[in-house]
């Protein structure tokens, strides 16, 4: 019965979202107060019904109701309960339901927000109405092409279980976080459109900024979590592959970052209104594009869902409608802007410049991701565009970006270059000297890019931290005012530092090891002690014990595993990792070559942890901005 109730709730949600949309239109004659009350109610009804539908699906999972196709395909009686919950969004249909649930939750958060006043009430009503329409489109999509409540008859006695790769805590929470980021961008999108269609001024910017930061936080967390998962679960110790699906999450992140910064300018200086609106439209559109790329099967990716052109077509229609519609509204309502007369060294133009660099990074990633498709379409050539290409082209926007980040921190609104130069020259000198020392004396010179990367990372960290350090003695709110920016920039600097050092100075080693044998990787010695059998709840494993020595002193022991799950044929690698802040030592078990000899994948990766510590600090910065700064928010 649960599945039928779920179906019913989904249809109610469809109706509620449609009501939410219509209530925002002027065709219903209502005064504004009543309109606001009603639309708020329908937004919550809409959210509640989607939530109940999700609960129904969850119930089917927990009761092992294999007559529901989605449950039969993704669950099993011996699947641990937490993973039954994770299986809710483990495949296409359920993940789409989650997508809609999160969208309606963001809508509800907008509906109950206390940030709206009389003069922005119309913004609230129109944006909720637009969100209703977005949700309507996706609920229609789910009902027509991807219904998770579909029954099968005759039904199987046992389910096919969740893909073992997804049976992992980090990956279980990864989709909700990433999706929360993706769909959170619908809120700035809706606010931008609402503003374009009504007053078309800067009032939306302050509101949109809150939700833009929110979804930026989730996107940052989601991407970092995904990369961390890939690192320890996929088995070969990589953390970023420039896979189309990864690119699909990085593009909205880059544009969302630009959006957050552009909204600062729009809110404070009341300029770049059109640019901010355009960024809000592009950011959400890139989320939709990502959804399309992952689910339509046009691209080959490690992470794609089972694909279906019909689904692809439906999502493409949704993109055409929402993005196309939004861009038309943008074109029709774009005011002729008065000449800005910006000085290059003012904060406005530096922020603008960096936003443009962020967008071009996103654009380059898009070109690289879609180029093979274009070539195949135009002259049936097949090429691969992978890490060597992306690692190279991304430097073009990122080097100037990192350079200007530090400059922008010290710039002032409408400021000029002269004063700026005095403020930054010491820090610039410090970064260069420290960078050169690090790359030449501590790590040893590798490549010019590595040295430049280290210098720029330090520059970003120093310039980010400086405003806080300078205000250490002053009042709390002076100190705290710069904290979100400082943390975000320090986080970015640490990430870049980690990426640069790991990829330039890391050592990867594929080799064979027999019992008692050891191999030297950099200054570390890996010694294989034993390999034993172990049985898990739904898998069998070979577990190796590998001791790691440095200068004849034991620094750690790792236990890499090779698992064979009951359900799936290919075996899985669980890497053994010994890590601290300064380095990661990684061992993955390859194959039994017989005679007690195993092939192994050994890695030494310096400063790898910074790649995830960085995003964590960025997120802290964002959280500070959202929660800690509230009492001071008027002054910032």
């Amino acid at each position: 019965m649960a599945a039928e109730f779920g179906q019913l709730f989904l249809i109610s949600a469809l109706a509620a979202s449609l009501m939410q949309f219509f209530l925002g239109l002027n065709i219903i004659s209502l005064d504004q107060t009543n309109r606001e009350i009603l639309i708020t109610r329908f937004t919550s009804i809409h959210c509640l019904t989607v939530f109940l539908a999700m609960l129904c699906l969850g119930y089917s999972f927990l009761t092992d109701d294999f007559s529901v196709l989605y449950v039969a395909l993704n669950s099993h009686t011996n699947l641990p309960v937490p993973y039954k919950v994770a299986a809710l969004w483990g495949a296409h249909e359920g993940s789409l339901l989650l997508w809609i649930l999160l969208l309606s939750l963001w809508g509800t958060s907008l509906a109950y927000s206390k940030k709206f006043f009389d003069h922005t009430l119309v913004l609230k009503i129109s944006s909720l109405s637009i969100l209703g329409l977005v949700s309507f489109g996706f609920i229609l999509f789910i009902i027509y092409t991807s219904n998770p409540f579909e029954r099968i008859y005759p039904f199987p006695e046992q389910g096919q279980s969740l893909n073992p790769l997804l049976q992992d805590p980090a990956l279980a929470i990864h989709p909700p976080i990433l999706y929360a980021g993706y769909v959170g961008l619908a809120v700035p999108f809706a606010l931008a459109l609402a503003s374009l269609m009504s007053s078309n001024d800067y009032h939306w910017a302050g509101l949109a900024r809150i939700w833009a930061i929110n979804s930026w936080l989730f996107l940052t967390g989601g991407i970092a979590l995904g990369s961390w998962w890939a690192y320890y679960e996929l088995g070969w110790g990589g953390w970023w592959f420039w896979d189309p699906v990864e690119n699909a999450s990085l593009m909205p992140w880059l544009v969302a970052t630009a959006l957050v910064h552009s909204l600062i300018v729009t809110e404070k200086k009341q300029i770049f209104n059109g640019f901010s609106a355009l960024l809000a439209i592009i950011a959400f559109s890139l989320s939709l594009l990502g959804t399309f790329l992952v689910r339509s099967g046009v691209l080959i990716s490690v992470h794609s869902f089972a694909s279906d052109p019909e689904r692809g077509l439906f999502i493409l229609m949704l993109i055409g409608f929402f993005t196309g519609g939004a861009l038309i509204i943008y074109a029709l309502n774009q005011k002729r802007s008065k000449p800005l007369n910006l000085n290059l060294w003012s904060r406005e133009s530096l922020l603008l410049l960096n936003n443009v660099f962020l967008c071009s990074a996103a654009g380059l990633i898009m070109i690289g991701t879609l180029y093979p498709l274009v070539l195949e379409l135009v002259n049936s050539e097949k090429i691969s565009v992978g890490p060597p290409y992306f690692n190279f082209v991304i430097l073009f926007p990122f080097i100037p970006l990192m350079l200007f980040i530090g400059v922008a921190v010290f710039s002032s609104w409408s400021g000029t270059g002269k004063k700026l130069l005095v403020n930054i020259n010491r820090l610039a000198l410090l970064s260069i000297v420290m960078g050169l020392i690090t790359s030449y004396l501590i790590l040893g010179y590798e490549t010019p890019t590595a040295t430049l990367g280290i210098i720029l990372a330090l520059w970003t960290i120093f310039t980010g931290a400086m405003p806080v350090i300078k205000n250490l003695g002053s009042q709390t709110h002076q100190l705290i005012k710069n904290l979100p920016m400082a943390l975000a920039h320090i986080g970015l600097g640490l990430t870049v530092l980690g990426i640069t050092v790991t990829s330039s100075y890391g050592i990867t080693f594929d080799d064979t090891l027999g019992f008692g044998q050891s191999k030297q990787v950099g200054s570390y010695e890996f010694k294989l002690i034993t390999i034993e059998d172990r049985a898990g709840p739904n898998f069998k494993a070979k577990v190796a014990t590998v001791d790691i020595f440095s200068n004849n002193k034991k620094v750690g022991t790792v236990f890499p595993e090779k698992r064979t799950y009951d359900s799936a044929a290919p075996s899985m690698t669980e890497a053994g990792i010994d890590s601290n802040l300064f380095r990661d030592l990684f061992v993955a078990l390859g194959e039994d070559l017989g005679g007690g000899v195993w092939s192994m994948h050994l890695q030494f990766k310096p400063l790898l942890r910074l790649i995830w510590l960085g995003p964590f600090i960025m997120i802290l910065g964002g959280l500070f901005r959202l929660f800690l700064l509230k009492p001071f928010s008027r002054e910032i």
Binding site: P309, G312, L316, I319, T323, G324, A331, L370, E376, L377
Partner: protein, 174 residues
């Protein structure tokens, strides 16, 4: 212009995505077409004799890469038998048994019939790499001078053979 530029770019992107959605997935084109086939020297299945690329010159032939572990090979096998018996097409098929065990291959041939004039065995897959093979079954059309004229990836059947191979064979024989 500034206002409508985004929508113009978007329309282009949209049209392109729509088109790629309906684009049938194609196989990876082989750079070997039009080139002489790579040199090889492979042992014949179950015998001590070995054969080189020079030995199969002088006639138009097919080289079919197959294995007993390959599902698609099972599906094309009946057609291969039919093709081998077809007097009017009259084309010899040379089998390369790829990364397989000889005993399994022999049992397969005795159970299902043998369409090949000769079966070569490539247990380590070295020749297959030279031929750019990445999935079985793959079938190469070789002309009299030993030049690869066409490559088909996936199971052969009456329909795709008539459409893709026959015109080239007719051309070559003219």
């Amino acid at each position: 212009m500034k206002r409508i530029l985004p929508i113009i770019i978007f329309i282009g992107l949209f049209a392109f995505l729509a088109k790629s959605l309906f684009q049938p997935q194609t196989n990876i084109p082989s750079p070997l077409i039009g080139q002489s086939m790579p040199a090889f020297s492979l042992g014949e299945l179950n015998t001590d004799t070995s054969l080189t690329d020079k030995d199969i010159l002088g006639t138009i032939s097919l080289i079919n890469v197959w294995a007993t572990w390959c599902v698609g090979c099972e599906r094309e096998h009946d057609f291969l038998i039919e093709l081998a018996g077809n007097q009017s097409i009259d084309i010899p098929i040379i089998g390369i048994n790829w990364k397989d065990r000889d005993d399994l291959a022999l049992r397969w041939l005795s159970q299902r019939g043998n369409p090949y004039i000769v079966v070569l065995s490539d247990p380590i897959g070295k020749t297959a790499i030279d031929f750019g093979v990445y999935g079985a079954p793959e079938t190469f059309l070789i002309d009299e001078q030993g030049v690869i004229r066409y490559k088909h990836i996936g199971p052969l059947n009456r329909e795709n053979f008539a459409r893709n191979f026959m015109p080239i064979i007719r051309d070559l024989r003219r």
